[in-house]
């Protein structure tokens, strides 16, 4: 099915909402590499242990930061009204945000894991 044919389907709407949310919070993905770099700088030979020790804090920063960023739409009247005038339900908007949040967390975890191996 071409992109034009998919337009208006529920799957396409969710995909578009998730993409928008990932784009909106995407810049937060610079945090994990910075975190890895800082751990390497501070830890020297004990880099891996140092990084593992800081995982809980990193997780809190990333997940809370992403959640706040994604929830920002709700507190910006212009953006929230814009979303609600799209042909989607409020439940779909929040569902897409939750999906984006999980994807984001997975991406952040992958970056950290990759950083620990390097």
């Amino acid at each position: 099915m071409s992109r034009n044919e998919q337009a208006g389907t529920t799957a396409e709407k969710i995909r578009l909402l998730v993409i928008r949310d990932l784009r909106s919070a995407g810049w937060l993905l610079v945090v994990p590499p910075l975190w890895v770099a800082a751990a390497r700088f501070r830890g020297g030979t004990e880099f891996a242990a140092n990084l593992r020790g800081s995982f809980p804090m990193l997780a809190v920063v990333i997940l809370a930061g992403t959640a706040l960023r994604l929830a920002r739409d709700r507190f910006d009247p212009g953006r929230w009204d814009f979303l609600r005038t799209l042909p989607v339900s409020t439940r779909m908007i929040w569902g897409a945000k939750l999906a984006a949040w999980f994807l984001f967390a997975a991406a952040a975890a992958a970056i950290v894991a990759l950083g620990a191996r390097i």
Binding site: A7, L16, R20, R23, R79, R84, T85, L86, P87
Partner: protein, 297 residues
């Protein structure tokens, strides 16, 4: 209908037929946006109901493809215009790419520009594009052009007029000025302080609005009871009325009334009538602003 703790609009009731273009006219704070937001379902009315496309719902028609909405202050993400148009087109199976391209060109919006860096005029244009390109049965425009320069405002409303000319469907256009959107409208509703001051089809309104000047030689002014007056100016025995229920039968009864002499009726333009309707009557918004200013000073 309440907006925060104040009543934004009350006793407002209207029908829009499938091909009607209703112009909601009123100064800032008259209740236009509140009515439109309630209609769409962005706000819930404190009382009353909204019936759209045959289905009664106080939640309006939010979440459907039946409405194209241009908000009063469009807000866009930090993405290129082309990306935004592509993104929005994914929500609508009936997206008209030719219309979108034509509007983009009309407003001179380059696809590579970032949406959040567009000028007010370009933002209005993009918002109109996004509202019109999916060919909705109902288009709602909430006066986004009010902050534009007169020339740009005219261009915006000309684009609306052109966009409405070649498509079926209804439209509700809100504006604080008559001159731009009047060419697109088939009917008019003037709001003042959250209430309807005047409503009707434009041709019919033009036919029934008159300025009546006469000399009252009678003992009382009972002859005035025949008219719905929006303005009464008295200079000694000479009276000047601005009425909106003129017709031949009422006019004949009026000139035959005891004490009425030298009566003449002249047509009045809608622009002048609107100016009279909103003149020196403070809207709730203006009154609040004035009170706040006085408090600060």
């Amino acid at each position: 209908m309440k907006w925060e703790r104040e009543v934004a609009a009350s006793e407002v009731s209207f029908d829009v037929s499938p091909h009607e273009r209703l112009l909601l006219l009123g100064p800032s704070g008259a209740g236009k946006s509140s009515i439109l937001r309630t209609l769409i379902g962005l706000r819930a009315p404190a009382a009353g109901s909204v019936v759209l496309f045959g289905g009664e719902s106080n939640a309006g028609v939010r979440g459907t493809e039946s409405i194209g909405y241009v908000p009063d202050a469009p807000v866009f993400d930090r993405i290129p215009v082309a990306g935004m148009i592509r993104w929005c087109s994914g929500f609508h199976p009936a997206w008209n790419h030719e219309r979108a391209a034509a509007l983009q060109s009309l407003f001179g919006i380059e696809g590579s520009r970032r949406c959040d860096r567009l000028s007010s005029f370009e933002s209005c244009g993009l918002s109109l594009l996004l509202a019109l390109a999916h060919e909705p049965p109902l288009l709602i425009i909430d006066d986004p052009a009010r902050t534009l320069e007169p020339g740009e405002r005219q261009r915006f409303w000309s684009a609306v007029s052109a966009g409405l000319a070649d498509r079926p469907g209804a439209a509700i256009l809100a504006s604080s000025a008559l001159s731009g959107p009047i060419s697109s409208a088939s009917s008019l509703m003037v709001l003042r302080q959250g209430r309807v001051a005047l409503a009707g089809e434009i041709g019919e309104l033009e036919a029934r609005v008159r300025r009546i000047e006469f000399v009252n030689e009678g003992e009382d002014a009972r002859c005035l009871d025949l008219w719905f007056c929006h303005k009464v100016k008295i200079r000694g025995r000479e009276l000047e009325l601005l009425v909106d229920n003129f017709d031949e039968a009422t006019w004949r009864r009026f000139i035959e009334s005891p004490g009425v002499a030298e009566a003449r009726a002249t047509p009045v333009g809608l622009e002048e009538l609107y100016a009279e309707l909103v003149r020196e009557r403070k809207t709730p918004g203006e009154a609040r602003l004035e009170a706040r200013t006085r408090h600060v000073s």
